[in-house]
Structure formats: C-alpha cells, structure tokens
C-alpha cells in the first residue's frame, strides 16, 4: 500500500481500519478514505472502462466531476469511487466491462470498431437491414449504459424525504467565498442557508447559518434550488441567491489523454494531501497556469519525482524558477502532446506548439502525467438562475458578464482569485444580499461601502490551452464521458452540425455524467478552430438541471397519493367492496356481485354512497336569476321544496355537466353536479358571479355532505322506518325535496332517481354519514336491501337511458343531439350561457344523434366501438354498453347518424375485428314512461 507519511489536514484516521470488496476481492481502507483513495492506495489503477470504446480509465479529478471512476456500490450504479466514502462491508463492483475490468471483450470497438461507431453512428449503422433492428437493439442495449439496475425491486428500499426550506439568503458553495458570504449575511441578521458538497467535518459550522453539508444543488428554477443531501431533497426557496461554486480545473486534449495515470493536477494533490496516497513515482506536469506549478512543488515534497514541467506560458515565472533551482526541468511554451502506455502511462511526450505543429519534442518515462489546462468557472447554476456569460480572451474561458436581480456570484466563479480577495468577494456578496433585504446595521452598511470600493486584485498571467495537441498520434479525447474525440467534433461540423448545440446533440459531447465540466470548453475550442471562428461566436450550450447525477428516488419523494374518500368509506371496505379510482375519489365499484346488486335494486332495494356528488349552496336575492343565466332551463320559477334536473351548457351550447337543483327557500338553492365535474362547476359559477356581480353567495359543500341513494320497490318502506318524513306517494312526490330527520340526523331528502325505481337521496353532514348508512342498512335488511356500487349503477342508469356526461357526451355534444331538446328553453327572456349557439342548433337539423340500442344475442360491444354508416365507413361510436340482468339482454347507447335515430332501425357495430348488429331504441329500456319512478 503506497501511503505517505501523515499529511497536514488529511482526512483519514490511521488508527481505524475498515474493509470492503471490489469485484469480490477484499480491500483494506482507513476510516475517512473514499473507495477511490483506498483502491488507489492498494494499487488499483484501472477503475472503469469508457462508454463507447471500453478503454481503461483511471482516477483523474478525484472530485466527483469526471466519469472515470463510476462504479456500483451495494448494487446501486452511478457512484463515483473518488467521492464515495469507504464503509465497512460495502460491495463495490465495476461497470461497463465484461468479463472483467482487466479483460474487456468490448475493447474491440476501440481497436477495430472505429468505422462502425463514428459520431451519430446510430443514424448510419445498425439500421440495415431493417428487420435485424430488434437484434441490433437487444445487443446495443446490453452493451450500452454505465451500470445495471436490479430487475426485481418489489418494494421501495429506501426512505426519501422532501423538505421545504425558505430562507432570506441561500449560499451555494462552502469554500472561502461561500463561507464568507454566509457569515456576512447572517451577521447582518438574515436567515441564511449554506450548501456545500463537502462533508460536515470538512466544512464546519457557522453561527446563525444552517449548513447543509454533503448537499448538491441540482439546479435553479425561478428561485427554487433543490438540494440533494443523502436521503433528503431540500427544496430551498430564498429571496437572494449567492453562488460561490468555484472553478473546475480543465484537462488538456492530447493523444492518449485518457490513459490511467493521466490526472488533473488537483486530483493528484487531493490524493496526496487528503488521503496520503502517493499518486505516482515519476510525474510529468503540463500546465497553463500556476496551478500546475504549485502541484509540482507540493508533490515533490510528498516524494514524487517530477521529471519535467511544461508551462505553456512563454516565460518561466518565479514559481517555475524555484522548481528549476530545485533541479526540475521546466519547459516554457511547451505542453504535453502524447501519453503512451498499455495499461497505464509509461511515457509522456512534450513539445512546443508553433502554432499548430509540434517542435522541440522531448520524451520522458513516467507513470503519472498531470494536466492543468486552466480552470473554468462553474457557472451552470448561475446560468440556470438567469446569468449570462461571455468569452474572456485573456482568461481563456467563459466568464460571468451579467447577473439577474437577486443573484450574486462570489469567489472564483466570479473571476476572483487569491484567498484574501476571494474572501472579500464573498463577504461583499453576502452583505449585498442582506442589504437588499433590509438587513444590516450602520456598521454593516459601512463595511459594504468599503468592500465595494476596494481595488480589484491583479490577475495572474495564464496561457490558453490549445484546442488539441498531438493530432494524428492517437485518440485525443475532448469528452471522457461519451468517448468523443477531437476528430469527432471536426467530423460533426463537416457533416453540417456546425453550431455547438447541433454538434452536442450529434456527438453527445457534454451530455454525459460530467455535464460539460470536463469538456464544454474543449468542445467550444475545437469547434472554433475547425470553423475558423472565435470562441465568443461559438458560445456555450444551454445549462440545464440536474447539475449532478441524482437518483430517481430522491426526485420521487414520499410515495403518498392524494385521495378523497367518503365518510362512509370504511363501511364499503368492511363489506368487501372492490374499490377503484373514480376521478380523485376512491369509490366502491361493486360488492362482489354487480349483476346481483343491480337486480336487487329492481326487485327489492339498493343503497349506494353518492357522497362524491358535487354540492353547491347558491344563496341570495338573485339566486334564481343567477341559475337562469347559467342553465338553458329555468330555476327562478321552481317552487320551494321542488327539484329540477339541469344541464349546464358552455358558451358554444355544448353539454358541460348535469345535476339536480332543489329550492330550499326563496333565496336558497341546493345544486348537485357530477362527481368529476364538481370543481369545474364551482369555478364556472364563481367566475360568472365575479363578472355579473349579482347578489348571490356560493358555498362548496361537496366534501362536507355525505349522500346516499336508496332505490327500489321497497325503498319507501325502508325510508319510512328511519325518518320522520311522511313518505307516502301523495305526500312525498317525485322531485320533492324535504327537510327532516333520518336516523336521528337532520337531513335533506330528495325524491329523485336515475334507476327507474322509487328513490330517495339523503344528504346530511359528512360527520353523520356512517350512522345514516348503518340505520338504512339495518332497516333494509329484512326487505332484501343490498348495497350497490358504481358498476351496477351504470347498468341501472343505462336501463333508463340516462346520460353520463363525459362518457356518453363529449365536448361537441349539444342537448339537441343528446335527445334532450326539452331542457333548452329558448323562450326564456333571460339571456343564458350558450343561448345564441343553441338557437342556431335548434334551427339546424342534427347530423348525429345519441340513441339507445339493444342486442339479444349475448354480445356486449366494447365501449368506444365504431358504428358503421351505410357505406361501411365510421359514422358514430358506442358510448355505453352493458348486459342488463333484469331485461336479460344487452343494452347500450351510441352516437349514430341522425337518419338512423328511429326505433327499430338496425346499426352495424365494428368491434375488434367482429361486426355486430344492434337495434335502435329511443325510449328507456326500463320503466320507459317513468311510472315506477314516479310511483
């Protein structure tokens, strides 16, 4: 194990050993190690195989930004070994290599697959012959992807939470600038949340600041920043956002730049300083800024032999001179152009680029090549929050040029460098954010002024990395995630995908797990070079969430589903009802015997829970006039204690909803609607009331009232046993509404029905739903009362040819075509919604009509089956169909050509490959004259 001597600030605890397995082999680690650092210390150098070419990949960034160490941990794919904490007993496995990491058969795509896998190859290859596509697809699916999900996952294994958090100031990034911003804003009195991807021990608490350590901000959605932390998705809404997200060190593009042993200089430093792991024995360092030089010094101190340093800048500065004085060869104006080796780096070639061809080449034997191609600001979250960037030629990257109101950038991401300056910029951002919210005393305001007028620090010289070095010497990777080379970018442009957005979609550059961290700048440089344009003209692709890979379970949150239930629902469950969704309600569909339940209603009595009906109280001096305006029929002339059926029409005269209206007193109406239409009708009523400003008040009682419907030949006897209302036929007539006491509860009883039998609909407060139901069931038992659900209700109402709005009608259905011309009172003086259109329809013959049909051969056509016209073409459709147990035949409703809408006419129904013949019936199948209903 290659561990260094204890390093200042190291994260490992050398006194605590733990172990885990990697591909079945036991690995010893120290507490505080990551999987990656432990494996590297144990000598592992190949961590994965690349996406397309299956080339060996080793640690590169050691910061969770590149894809090179993606692995599976305890069966969950998508983990990055370099940031995954090592824990006792975890099972770590490689991904994307068969049969093993060391010997991957798919490496053949790198050796010989080039002609078959150019950019966009899936548009060109594997598409002929077409009939082989199912085979190609199966093969491609098996070889594509990074990791596998378990096929069987019967239960959720992992509790995930949503947590909403409002704050005055959210700071993203817990480095020097972020911490300074958070401290400053909190010091001024703001409520501050600080989010940092580092773990709690690394970031440390701050007074007055809620620290979300180990949290990754996923994006910015109009002020909402979701942050993933462990099992929790924090949904943070802050008045002000401060992004101190730092910069991302950039790789260089040269031949063999993906070999294990080629790392970012910061990655090597993290290995050495955080985990005391020797990154290599002999290193070549290529840099465009001081970063690489600082890394050279630090690694030399740690015991790495620095065999050469190439600094692309034309002059060697003081840091470089120091290295020279220490005996390290430093080559100014040089960069690395090739890394060679079989399973890892063995040789590095450096040269001067002049300007695009290499001169003054030098070869060095080494096992480590460190590259530092500058750093690009981590602007994705800022861009999502509305910031803009522009290409900065001096710095060679895209820098923030514009910030929207309420959004601040601090530290390196804002183009500031040097610890002291970075801290000041953070403090400035934090104070500004707090100040804009009215926080901060005189001292804070004074400090803000000082910071705002402080001179900016001097920029240090950087060199801009070339788009590519070493072309022709081997594959030069621009995108490590998707295996996109510099040549691929050029090919995509030659094929016409010459904008960065098009090239991205064609080559998939920046679309992999790193989301452009390692490759956005490189791809823009390559495009600019190939097109002969500037990077400013090329621009960048649109920043989109999520900024980090996030498990779907985190986005899913808790598995709870909103549902409405009647106050009587427990009784249905206890009776063994089949419960299904009906809109957003859970309803009893049947109690095990829908046909029997329907028959019971016709032979004895049935009880159904209709609590889901919409119920609106319409009250006021103008209540009647208001309803007259909303419905095509009249309600202002309805007598107190009487009920009328109503159909709501739209402005275009189409059926929107239906229900009953009972007049309770001079100024009070009790309106029912369909269950699914309740919300829409309430909105409709409220919207028109706001416009008409009539003396009317609306109250939605839908959830507040339980309602049950008792129907059948024995309904009167049952009802009489439980209520104090005289239920005799002469006293309680059909379409009467009476107030009384049912089962000891005050209730509104409506003598209505849609099933062709004597019926009573009882409405009482939901708090009494169960006692009323219980009393009726008990009283009805000697009479053969059965509960019935939605399915038998559908049979029963179909027997009466009662429409179900939304099932038998659609957005084009008019009352005339739906065989309800009687509901439209065009002679009303009152204007009403849809009057103009309905008058027009009344004058035009309908081309289509809603009718009943019957069949006696036992066939039941599928709802939605097509009705054929005389020429065999589609001319209508079946909307409802059932077998009627009491009538012992099939009944249904269908839209048919108006010419066929007459009793006895025959229609042909085309239903899933069979043709059925039915006979039209325009009158209800059961109780056609309503004698039973009105009895």
């Amino acid at each position: 194990m290659s561990r260094l001597a204890p390093q200042p600030g190291e994260r490992i605890d050398r006194s605590k050993q733990i172990s885990f397995t990697f591909d079945g082999k036991r690995v010893t680690a120290l507490e505080g190690d990551t999987v990656g650092s432990a494996l590297y210390a144990a000598g592992q150098r190949t961590f994965s195989r690349s996406f397309k070419y299956h080339r060996r990949r080793g640690l590169m960034c050691v910061a969770g930004q590149c894809p090179n160490c993606i692995c599976s941990v305890d069966g969950a794919p998508g983990a990055r070994a370099c940031t995954e904490p090592a824990r006792e007993g975890i099972v770590v496995e490689h991904v994307n290599a068969e049969p093993s990491l060391e010997h991957d058969v798919m490496r053949i795509t790198d050796i010989a697959g080039g002609p078959f896998t150019p950019p966009g190859f899936y548009y060109k290859t594997f598409i002929r012959p077409r009939k082989l596509w199912p085979l190609y697809e199966k093969v491609l699916r098996n070889v594509a992807g990074l990791g596998k999900l378990r096929k069987e996952q019967p239960e959720r294994e992992w509790r995930t939470e949503y947590r909403r958090r409002h704050a005055d100031v959210l700071v993203v990034g817990g480095g020097i600038a972020g911490r300074a911003a958070a401290a400053a804003a909190a010091g001024a009195g703001a409520d501050v949340v600080l989010v940092d991807e580092g773990l709690a021990g690394q970031t440390g608490p701050l007074d007055g600041v809620e620290l979300i350590a180990g949290g990754s901000a996923l994006g910015s959605f109009d002020g909402l920043v979701p942050v993933w932390q462990g099992d929790t998705l924090h949904q943070i809404r802050a008045a002000k956002l401060v992004f101190a997200t730092g910069t991302i060190e950039q790789p260089l593009v040269f031949a063999g730049n993906d070999l294990p042993g080629v790392m970012l200089s910061g990655g090597a430093l993290r290995l050495a300083q955080n985990y005391a792991v020797l990154p290599g024995r002999r290193a070549v360092i290529a840099t465009t800024t001081d970063r690489g030089l600082v890394a050279a010094q630090a690694l030399r101190t740690a015991g790495v032999e620095i065999v050469a340093v190439c600094d692309l800048r034309p002059e060697v500065n003081e840091l470089g001179s120091e290295l020279r004085r220490a005996g390290v060869p430093v080559f100014a104006g040089h960069t690395v152009i090739e890394a060679r080796g079989r399973t890892g780096v063995q040789t590095a070639v450096i040269a001067a680029l002049n300007p695009s061809f290499a001169t003054d080449e030098h070869e060095f034997d080494c096992d480590l090549v460190l590259m530092s191609g500058g750093a690009t600001p981590a602007t994705s979250l800022l861009l999502q929050a509305g910031a803009r960037t522009e290409y900065d030629e001096r710095r060679g990257h895209f820098a923030i040029s514009e910030l929207p109101a309420g959004v601040f950038a601090a530290g390196d991401v804002a183009g500031v460098s040097g610890d002291e300056t970075v801290a000041r910029s953070g403090e400035l951002a934090g104070l500004r954010a707090a100040h804009e919210l009215g926080f901060g005393d005189a001292d804070a305001r004074g400090r803000l002024q000082v910071l705002e007028t402080a001179p900016a620090a001097e920029d240090k010289a950087v060199a801009v990395a070339p788009p590519v070095a070493g072309s022709g010497r081997g594959k030069c990777f621009a995108c490590f995630c998707e295996d996109v080379t510099s040549k691929d970018i050029g090919l995509s442009i030659d094929e016409g995908y010459d904008s960065i957005e098009l090239s991205k979609r064609y080559t998939t550059v920046t679309m992999g797990p790193c989301q452009g961290r390692m490759c956005q700048l490189q791809s823009v440089r390559l495009m600019a070079q190939h097109n002969g344009t500037s990077l400013a003209d090329v621009g960048v692709t649109t920043a989109r969430p999520p900024w980090v890979s996030v498990p779907m379970g985190i986005l899913g949150g808790r598995p709870v589903e909103p549902a409405k239930r009647s106050s009587i629902h427990a009784r249905h469950r206890a009776l063994g009802a089949t419960v299904k969704w009906a809109g957003d309600w859970r309803r009893a569909y049947d109690y095990g015997d829908p046909a029997g339940e329907a028959l019971a209603v016709n032979r004895a009595a049935g009880l159904i829970d209709v609590s889901t009906l919409g119920k609106l109280l319409v009250r006021g001096a103008d209540a009647g006039a208001f309803l007259d305006r909303l419905y095509p029929n009249r309600f202002s002339d309805l007598k107190t204690g009487r009920i009328r059926y109503g159909v709501i029409s739209s402005d275009a005269g189409r059926i929107v909803d239906d229900g009953t209206i009972c007049r309770l007193d001079d100024e009070t109406y009790y309106v029912t609607t369909t269950s699914s239409g309740a919300g829409a009708v309430e909105e409709w009523f409220g919207w028109w009331l706001a416009d008409w400003k009539m003396d009317v008040r609306l109250t939605d009682l839908t959830q507040g009232m339980a309602a049950v419907n008792l129907a059948g030949p024995r309904a009167r006897e049952i009802m009489s046993a439980v209520c104090d209302i005289d239920c005799s036929a002469d006293t309680f007539k059909y379409l009467d509404g009476k107030l009384g006491t049912v089962a000891g509860v005050k209730a509104l009883v409506l003598r209505i029905g849609f099933v062709g039998e004597v019926g009573y609909e009882i409405h009482c407060p939901a708090a009494f739903g169960e006692p009323v139901w219980d009393a009726l069931m008990e009283a009805g038992e000697p009479h053969g009362l059965k509960p019935f659900g939605l399915e038998p209700q559908r049979i029963l109402r179909l027997q009466k040819l009662h429409i179900l709005v939304g099932q038998d009608t659609d957005s084009e259905s008019t009352p005339f075509a739906a065989a309800m011309p009687w509901i439209v009172k065009l002679d009303k003086e009152q204007d009403f919604i849809g009057k103009w259109a309905l008058r027009h329809y009344a004058e035009q013959p309908e081309s289509i009509a809603l009718v009943g049909f019957t069949m006696s051969n036992g066939d039941v056509p599928t709802e939605g089956a097509v009705v054929l016209g005389e020429d065999g073409s589609p001319a209508g459709q079946v909307t409802s169909s059932r077998h009627s147990p009491v009538l012992e035949r099939t009944i249904g409703m269908a839209w048919v050509p108006a010419a066929l809408a007459r009793d006895g006419a025959r229609i042909t129904i085309s239903d899933v490959g069979r043709q059925l013949v039915a006979e039209i019936q325009t009158r209800p199948f059961y109780d056609p004259d309503g004698e039973l209903l009105r009895s």
Binding site: R164, D191, T699, Q703, A743, P765, A766, P771
Partner: protein, 210 residues
C-alpha cells in the same frame, strides 16, 4: 327546521354522535374516545410523550362557520383574530371562516353557513412542528414570516388547505373532509419519522399548558 339546519352536525337525536373522518385511524393508533359535545373525540393515546419532537391531534370536531357579506377591517387579511377562544379568519373580500366553538353570530350582518363537516383539521405542535410541516407543505412558516396569529391559505399535502399559527410551535391545519385519511397518513409519515406521534385533545391541552 330552517333551510340550512341540515348542514350543522348537531344531531336531532342526542344519542347519535358525530364522527371525525380520522376516527378509525385514531382507533388503530390506540386512541381512547369519549363523547364530547355531540362528537366522538379522541381524548388520549397511551404513549403520547412527544414534547421534544412533534405531536398531531385530530381537531375536526371544531365548529366552523362561514361568514359571507361586507367584512370590515376588524378582520384583516393574512391574520386570524382570536376572540373568546375562537379564530376569525378572513379568506376573501367577502368571505371569512370562524373556527372554534360556535359564537353568537345572530347579531352579525353576515350570512352564516355551518361548514363544520366541510373541513377536517389537525393541530400539529411541538419543537419539530415546523420541520414536520416542511415535509409536505411549502408555506413559509418561519416566525418572521408566519408569526402567531398568521393565517395562510395554501397547498398542504398537495391539497387546498388553510393554516393558522395558533402559538409558537403550534399550527392548526384545515383541509377537505374527504381528504382526511390521506392527510393523516402524510402527517403520520412525516411526524413519525421525526419521532412524533398522535395525541388526544386532553393531551394537547396539557402540552399547551406545559
């Protein structure tokens, strides 16, 4: 009987008790129920010691009246006014909700509709009450934004609801009667994970007095 009498959950027969839509859930959780003012109410649970986390209590039996008419400035928006143990909550320009015991509204120039059974309610209380609510509600409940007496209509557990900050670390949430079983399950899931549990109305009173 007047036209709107049937809306009130006051039984004609004193032997018929009104029931919360969460009664069965309370029973399953071990509640002891008693008849109080015509309601079957969960008064206590056997192991209710959630003083350091969060408790929830079914308070659906609270009377609720809807007032409609020309409301004056004594009922400001965004604030629930406490008068004689009753919350007066202005919801719109012409609509208010009165929550608690039934006050004498006969002299008031408003139209009154009993909506007790339209809204179920839970009281959520304890040091982790805000944390619990944050699991299913995006209302900003920081004391600086939602102080005691604040009234916040909004989305609660993805349903329309109303929240009243009754006291420090104590919130009354109102929601549709038919959604009660669902809301209880959401609250129980969130609060349970934080170490909390249900309490009866007598225990809630003790917590408030503590």
């Amino acid at each position: 009987m007047s036209a709107l009498d049937f809306l009130s959950p006051v039984a004609a027969d004193a032997g018929v008790l009104a029931r919360s839509p969460m009664e069965l859930l309370a029973v399953d959780a071990g509640a002891r129920l008693e008849a109080r003012d015509g309601w079957n109410v969960a008064v206590s649970y056997p192991a209710a010691a959630f003083g350091e986390s969060v408790s929830w209590c079914d308070t659906s039996h609270l009377r609720k009246l809807q007032l409609q008419g020309e409301l004056d400035e004594s009922l400001p928006f965004g604030t629930a006014v406490r008068r004689d143990g009753v919350w007066w909550c202005r919801l719109t320009a012409g609509r208010a909700l009165v929550v608690g015991a039934r006050p004498d509204v006969s002299e008031l120039p408003y139209e009154v509709v009993d909506v007790t059974s339209v809204f179920a309610s839970l009281t959520i209380a304890g040091p982790l009450a805000r944390e619990c609510l944050a699991r299913f509600c995006a209302l900003d409940l920081r004391p600086s934004v939602t102080p005691v007496g604040a009234l916040r209509p909004g989305s609660i557990a993805r349903q329309p609801g109303t929240l009243i900050c009754e006291a420090q670390d104590r919130y009354l949430i109102l929601f549709g009667w038919a959604t009660a079983e669902y809301v209880w399950s959401v609250v129980a899931d969130a609060a349970g994970h934080l170490g909390g549990g249900p309490v009866g109305i007598d225990q809630l009173q003790e917590l408030s007095n503590a």
